[in-house]
């Protein structure tokens, strides 16, 4: 474990990438994600990598595709509108089964919107904003330390499944400084990237490599899509992650990811003082959604999001319609207070 | 006979007009305006040419010129 550092979330993400062996970064500045690109603009070349400030997010994601096709660990980062522009590229990368890491430091949308923290890109990230049948693994940290850890993990998962992995944070987490210590990379065994292009003379088998996603033949294409489907099913089984906070005896649960999950913990502390048995489920992997976490015998769930309600669909799908699933959201860069959430718990579940 | 009037609440105290004035008769006020900026002020009306150099360079259109 490295030494303790006080770092912004964005910087920690950038440094974690370097420590995970990221060799190329392609990005375009945008508030509140710019520290990622700023940090890597000097740090990456220091670490022997290559940094390109692309002409646009569209160019950046396609550079990532090129770099990932070479079997190199590569990353791009942006905030909401920029992520919208990357959707075609992400779909291509998923279709080419290339590993890479994507950072979205969400801000308020739709449109130009505002720069405040938000979680309105949940659907885009989790259901897939690009065209066609593909999935992006999505990880949502709630502390700077976790952001760093999940970025390192993201590189591993990307390599493991040959799939893009997104780390989904928000403006608060991006701008916030907390103490972080970088772990040494996981010792997981990762598949050899012998599909990568690097000039056919470099391949042990002397065969040339082709990375494309074009199918002229529907039958072959269907086979490929079904292969993707199987891979996704496998990920859904193996990679659900979440944190539970005082759920053991809980009668009510707040469900919130990222910043909301943290605020909810404060709410729980307050609730417990009042004798309300409240707990928190904080989904960490948003896709695969941690359905396993919801095999609980409680009286009700309150889903809290910085949006009009998006994750709540997945909560409902996980919970079924036997237990009530309520919603409370703030939007536009506004963030609920712990008091506010407690108020909501009481109101929604008639605890007054 | 000429003069300038600086709209003190509009001025951001950037000092560009100070240098641009051929007569160097613009200064900075001692007190900040309500936005925390120290506005420009005409120091010596008698010397003003009404040449509008100051107004032309002012990024905040804070200067009116009279002649």
């Amino acid at each position: 474990m490295g030494k303790k550092q006080l770092m912004k979330g964005n910087e920690a993400i950038a440094e974690a990438a370097v420590q995970a062996g990221c060799k190329t970064y392609f990005g375009y500045p945008i508030t509140p994600a710019s520290e990622v690109i700023e940090y890597l603009s000097w740090r990456l070349s220091e670490a022997g990598g290559e940094f390109v400030q692309a002409e646009s997010e569209v160019a950046a994601i396609n550079m990532v595709q090129g770099s990932a096709a070479c079997g190199v660990r590569t990353m791009t980062g942006t905030s909401s509108p920029g992520m919208s522009l990357k959707q075609e590229g992400i779909s291509y990368i998923a279709a080419n089964e290339l590993p890479c890491v994507l950072i979205n430091v969400q801000r308020g949308g739709p449109g130009l919107g505002g720069l405040g923290p938000a979680q309105g890109d949940y659907f885009q990230a989790v259901k897939g904003g690009g065209h066609g049948d593909y999935r992006t693994i999505v990880l949502a940290p709630s502390t700077v330390q976790e952001a760093a850890d999940l970025v390192m993990e993201a590189f591993d998962l990307a390599d493991l499944y040959c799939n893009p992995v997104m780390v989904l944070t928000d403006g608060i987490l991006g701008q916030m400084m907390e103490v972080v210590q970088f772990k040494s990379g996981t010792q997981r065994e990762l598949p050899v990237k012998d599909w990568a292009v690097k000039g056919s003379a470099e391949h042990a088998d002397g065969q040339r490599r082709i990375v494309t996603s074009y199918y002229l033949d529907s039958e072959k294409f269907e086979k490929f899509v079904k292969h993707l489907g199987e891979k996704y099913a496998q990920i859904q089984k193996a990679e659900q992650r979440w944190e539970e906070y005082l759920t053991d005896d809980a009668e009510y649960l707040i469900v919130g990811f990222g910043t909301c999950g943290r605020i909810a913990k404060s709410t729980v502390q307050m609730a417990r003082k009042e004798g309300i048995k409240l707990g928190v489920i904080r989904p960490i992997s948003l896709w695969p959604f941690p359905v396993e976490a919801f095999a609980k015998d409680v009286k009700g769930y309150l889903t809290v999001e910085l949006s009009l309600g998006q994750m709540i669909e997945d909560v409902k799908l996980a919970v079924g319609d036997t237990t009530p699933v309520e919603f409370y959201g703030r939007q536009g860069g506004m963030v609920p207070t712990p008091e506010e959430l407690l108020e909501q718990v009481k109101e929604k579940f008639d605890l007054k | 006979m000429a003069k300038i009037v600086v709209k003190r609440e509009v001025c951001k105290g950037c000092r560009l007009c100070l240098d641009e004035c051929p007569k160097k008769i613009i200064g900075i006020e001692e007190n900040a305006n309500s936005h925390g900026y120290y506005p420009a002020v005409l120091l010596d009306e008698s010397k003003c040419l009404g040449c509008s150099m100051c107004a032309l360079i002012c990024p905040d259109v804070a200067i009116e010129v009279y002649k």
Binding site: M176, E178, V335 | -
Partner: protein
């Protein structure tokens, strides 16, 4: 123990730095810390603020809605956040700038003419450190020596003079009787 602080004022008054010094000190003491700035286009001109939490345990919400300590470096900040301070909390006001200090029944209010004191020390830019000194004295979050150590790490070697000025300003604030 957990202390939740809000530093608010105009951009350029060194609020973010003040918060950072405290957070850094907390880290050196192996405490949990968080520091959140306001950001965005408002950064240019307008108001700026930052929230700092220093805690012995894991920090649940890092967002400070109800501060234990509020530093108000200008009038709008005091007007906006004063009422939110917890009972038994402390408000430290830069009285060089904030002229209209209402009564806050729930908490203690300290007025420090930080700009004037800083001016006397050589630069209004260190008004923030004067306030920090007072804050350190009035609360027991961290010790003044720890802040000095933190400062020594934060301020790049070779900028000894700045370090010394900052320390002096902290000392001045610390020794004030308000």
């Amino acid at each position: 123990m957990e202390t939740r602080m809000l530093f608010a004022g105009f951009g350029g008054q060194g609020l973010l730095f003040m918060g950072k010094v405290l957070a850094y000190t907390g880290m050196l003491l192996d405490k949990q810390v968080s520091w959140i700035p306001s950001y965005g286009p408002e950064m240019r001109g307008g108001t700026a603020n930052c929230s700092v939490v220093i805690s012995d345990e894991e920090i649940a919400s890092p967002i400070v809605n109800r501060p234990d300590i509020l530093v108000a470096m200008n009038q709008p900040s005091l007007d906006k956040f004063g009422q939110a301070v917890r009972s038994d909390g402390v408000i430290i006001v830069n009285s060089s700038i904030v002229k209209d200090v209402p009564v806050f029944s729930q908490c203690k209010v300290l007025q420090v003419s930080a700009n004037d004191l800083a001016h006397d020390l050589g630069s209004v830019k260190i008004a923030n450190m004067v306030i920090l000194g007072t804050l350190l004295k009035e609360t027991d979050i961290v010790k003044i020596e720890d802040v000095h150590s933190a400062l020594a790490e934060i301020i790049p070697a070779g900028r000894q003079q700045i370090l010394e000025m900052n320390k002096k300003a902290i000392q001045t604030g610390f020794e004030l009787s308000v």
